[in-house]
């Protein structure tokens, strides 16, 4: 099966120089391929069905809001039925991951890459659900959840439950013990039939075998698969708290004190593209983080009982951006004072009272962007995840080149003005 280049969208990435071939199958499946001289090839397939998706309207199973962790459970079952032994026999490494916004399956392989790619396609299009495996996977998932017992993970769960009033996003990607125990094999099959549609899947490969062959292999796997209508996932957008508590206390397993602060922004009305959103929010996070770190350092030097650096994170969920920063500390009062200082810095940023070297940060982001192209597996994963989110990773490169400082500050102003702020105190 040969796909003509005239039917493809070809993009030359301006920063890395790589050429990305893209083809949209009639079923809606997107295929992206990069040809390199690598001897280790990589491929990934993503779909926008992740831990933050609340409603899956499977007939007979009203899931909303009762099943956090269902996307993760489905990923486990599909991967388990994916014949790991076959991947291994082909010298391929395979794995899968579920994020808040999507699920991705990925492989790396040497000489037998094309065969492994065929198996990857079969795994997602024709999974084998074994009832015998079901209880085993449930136990393993419960085990996995139990292993996440550090204070930061507990704090993050608490933060999301503060920001969102209802829906899976309040819990955890893995779900909670109650929800994991409720899942049945029939439900998983129903979820698969509903959510795993070719029309929302994106394949990406970075290989030395040629884009035509790669796309031909995926095309063969899709052949005969019914495209069907696209699934309608309930988003958590309307479930966000408009009023109510903004602070939560938790008691972690260890004696470590921690404070977590989250800025939640609604960006759906701004009309900003996904790629630009990634660039702008990364830059804003970096700015807020730098100021936070600076203030914390001043506090530390005054012996105010603050331990450790910050952990900061930015996530984009269904039209919201959540930027969070965690700080290990002894005293809630000191934390409150510190985070009060951050708001003051945010205000100064808003009113341009402080100097920030935007060009230095842009160059940092360019380096981060280029580093993805240095690893076939990272590149395949990123290309497929961006595609599943309805965007193109190479657009991020374009945004970095065409970066406009004034537009960025307008965006930052809008976000800082509309931010809702939440706190979690641990210890």
């Amino acid at each position: 099966l040969i796909i003509k280049e005239s039917d493809m969208i070809i993009t030359d990435d301006p920063l890395s120089g790589e050429r990305v071939y893209e083809y949209i199958h009639k079923s809606g499946t997107r295929m992206l391929a990069v040809d390199t001289d690598t001897s280790i090839s990589a491929a990934a397939v993503s779909l926008p069905f992740g831990g933050g998706i609340s409603g899956v309207d499977v007939e007979g199973f009203r899931t909303f809001p009762a099943f956090p962790g269902i996307a993760h459970f489905a990923e486990h079952m599909i991967f388990t039925g994916g014949r790991l032994d076959r991947f291994c026999a082909l010298g391929a490494d395979a794995n899968a991951e579920t994020s808040m916004t999507g699920t991705t399956y990925y492989i790396t392989a040497g000489d037998k890459f094309l065969y492994a790619l065929g198996d990857l396609s079969n795994m997602v299009f024709n999974p084998k659900f074994s009832k015998g495996e079901f209880e085993k996977e449930r136990e393993i998932i419960l085990r996995e959840r139990s292993d996440d017992d550090d204070v930061f993970t507990e704090g993050r769960r608490a933060l999301l439950s503060l920001i969102y009033q209802r829906g899976s996003i309040r819990r955890d990607i893995i779900g909670d013990v109650k929800s994991i125990k409720k899942v049945t094999p029939e439900f998983i099959r129903g979820v698969y039939n509903y959510a795993y549609r070719p029309g929302i899947m994106s394949f990406a490969s970075v290989s030395g075998v040629g884009h035509s062959q790669v796309m031909g292999m995926i095309d063969a796997a899709i052949f005969g698969t019914q495209a069907g209508s696209a699934p309608k996932f309930n988003t958590i957008k309307s479930k966000k708290r408009e009023s109510g508590e903004r602070i939560k206390r938790i008691k972690p397993f260890s004696d470590i004190g921690m404070m977590l602060c989250g800025f939640a922004f609604d960006v759906s009305s701004l009309g900003t593209s996904y790629a630009r959103l990634q660039v702008y929010t990364s830059m804003l996070e970096s700015m807020l983080f730098d100021r936070t770190e600076y203030i914390a350092r001043t506090f530390k030097e005054r012996g105010r009982g603050i331990h450790g650096g910050f952990r900061s994170d930015t996530e984009i969920f269904c039209g919201d951006v959540v930027i969070s920063a965690a700080l290990y500390c002894d005293s809630p009062d000191v934390c409150a004072e510190l985070f009060g200082g951050i708001f003051e810095e945010a205000r100064k940023l808003h009113s341009r009272e402080i100097f920030t070297n935007v060009e230095a940060k842009r160059r940092s982001l360019i380096a981060d962007y280029l580093s993805v192209f240095d690893s076939p597996s990272d590149l395949a994963l990123t290309l497929s995840e961006y595609s599943a989110a309805g965007s193109r990773f190479t657009d991020v490169g374009r945004e970095l080149i065409d970066f406009d400082e004034r537009e960025f500050f307008d965006f930052a102003d809008a976000l800082l003005a509309g931010a809702e702020v939440y706190f979690v105190l641990a210890g």
Binding site: C88, K136, H307, S364
Partner: protein, 433 residues
């Protein structure tokens, strides 16, 4: 294949007048270049190791040239976020200061040899003059001490990392003056600026023992720059850690979480390549024996792994349900015992394939490339990627059983969870090896 095509060329060259060798790998395959220098400081007592650790962290935060972290951050960001790290490392023969730089090496962002020169200049200036003029380094040290305090608190809250860190302390407990997790934690209270300034004199007079470069620049260019900045250094030889021959404790600590973190440490007498394939067979590939037995068949854990570290240590690590701790430990030893006399062919093939991919990865990834050449240097071996690939290809059933038989249990360390009490009758045990 890459070497034949001229896409990956390696030259080991003496830097003419001081005898220092530099490994230069010239390739257009990576978008970043790496350059590293290792300064050998010989045997230092515990206090000096603490001071050197603090000094290495200070160098990452500033220098006379860039007195504050903010000024240093901006300078490095303008170099496309070049990452320059100074790391304290130890081996049997002494202590090192490892300076490593990663920087964009892609024509589209307009960098290249000029950047290499600037990076080397920065390393030279930082190593030579790490203390800001204004206060002699007081503020930098104070900052570093706070960082260390914070890291120590954060480490305890990260149960997997904490368990691994304590395990390493136990395994290398026979090494005199080695800087332990507790030793690092105590730096803020035990190290003064005077100690740091004193140990810096040792650094300034240290021989340069190894230099490595991978990127687009030619060996001539790289050697020219190294000579310009570091031509007055002399070479030194090093040896890696060996495992002690004596007692090691079966030890445990806790409670901290809901799951038990366990580590078993083994010495091995087979070759490193054989130990690598054995690690893949036991706990590397997705159908590894531990994965199948501990996770899939018995559901004792979600994650289990086996790895060979560069210092002659073979580790099996698992995070298991506390109530399964003893069963999981027994099963791990049973699986290793089984590998001494029998082997699952499909898993062996998968392990061999995975090891081959890891070996070929040296051509594909600058970090893997650097690790490979540095490891060869430390062990005094010839760095030959194709030879490694040949050795893996010839690995068979007999090699596997021989490798498994060469394992000797040396350490058994457990960090257990709050969810379940420790097994009754558990106490510290001492084994004679």
């Amino acid at each position: 294949m890459w070497e034949e095509a001229g896409m990956f060329s390696h030259e080991k060259r003496p830097l003419s007048y001081n005898g220092v060798y530099i490994d230069c790998v010239r390739t257009d395959r990576f978008r970043f270049a790496s350059f590293s220098l290792t300064f050998f400081l010989g045997e230092l007592d515990f206090k000096k190791r603490q001071a050197l650790y603090a000094l290495s962290r200070m160098m990452e935060n500033g220098s006379r040239e860039y007195p504050t972290p903010e000024s240093l951050d901006i300078a490095l960001s303008m170099l496309y976020d070049a990452e320059i790290s100074f790391t304290f490392t130890e081996s049997e023969s002494g202590v090192f200061l490892h300076a490593e730089a990663d920087f964009a090496d892609t024509p589209s962002v307009g960098v290249g040899e000029g950047l290499l020169w600037r990076i080397l200049s920065h390393v030279k200036n930082t190593v030579g003059s790490p203390f800001p003029e204004a206060d002699g380094g007081e503020a930098l040290l104070s900052r570093v001490k706070e960082e260390i305090r914070g890291d120590s608190s954060a480490l305890i809250s990260d149960h997997d990392s904490y368990a691994y860190s304590i395990y390493k302390d136990k395994v290398y407990s026979h090494v005199a003056d080695r800087l332990t997790t507790e030793g690092i934690r105590n730096i803020p209270d035990e190290v003064s600026l005077f100690d740091v300034v004193s140990v810096h004199r040792t650094v300034a007079g240290a021989p340069l023992c190894y230099a490595f470069y991978v990127g687009r620049s030619s060996a001539d260019t790289v050697c020219g720059h190294v000579k310009e900045f570091f031509g007055d250094f002399s070479p030194a030889r090093v040896t890696p850690f060996s495992l002690g021959r004596g007692y090691l404790l079966r030890d445990r600590e806790g409670p901290v979480g809901t799951s038990t973190r366990m580590h078993l440490g083994f010495s091995y007498s087979c070759t490193d390549v054989e130990a690598n394939v054995l690690a893949q067979y036991l706990g590397g590939v997705p159908i590894s024996r531990f994965f199948t037995e501990l996770r899939e068949r018995n559901r004792y854990c979600y994650s289990v792994y086996a790895e060979r570290s560069s210092m002659g240590l073979f580790t099996v690590g698992a995070t298991v349900g506390a109530k399964y701790e003893e069963k999981a430990r027994a099963l791990i030893l049973d699986v290793i015992d089984e590998a001494c006399y029998d082997c699952t062919q499909a898993v062996l093939f998968a392990a061999r394939d995975a090891s081959l991919i890891a070996a070929r990865y040296i051509y594909e990834n600058r970090r893997a490339c650097e690790r490979f050449f540095f490891s060869a240097f430390v062990k005094g071996e010839r760095a030959d990627i194709e030879e490694r690939i040949r050795q893996i290809r010839s690995f068979n059933r007999d090699s596997l059983m021989r490798a498994a038989r060469s394992l000797t249990l040396r350490a058994d360390y457990v960090l257990f969870g709050k969810g379940d009490p420790p097994p009754k009758g558990y106490s510290k045990e001492v084994w004679r090896l």
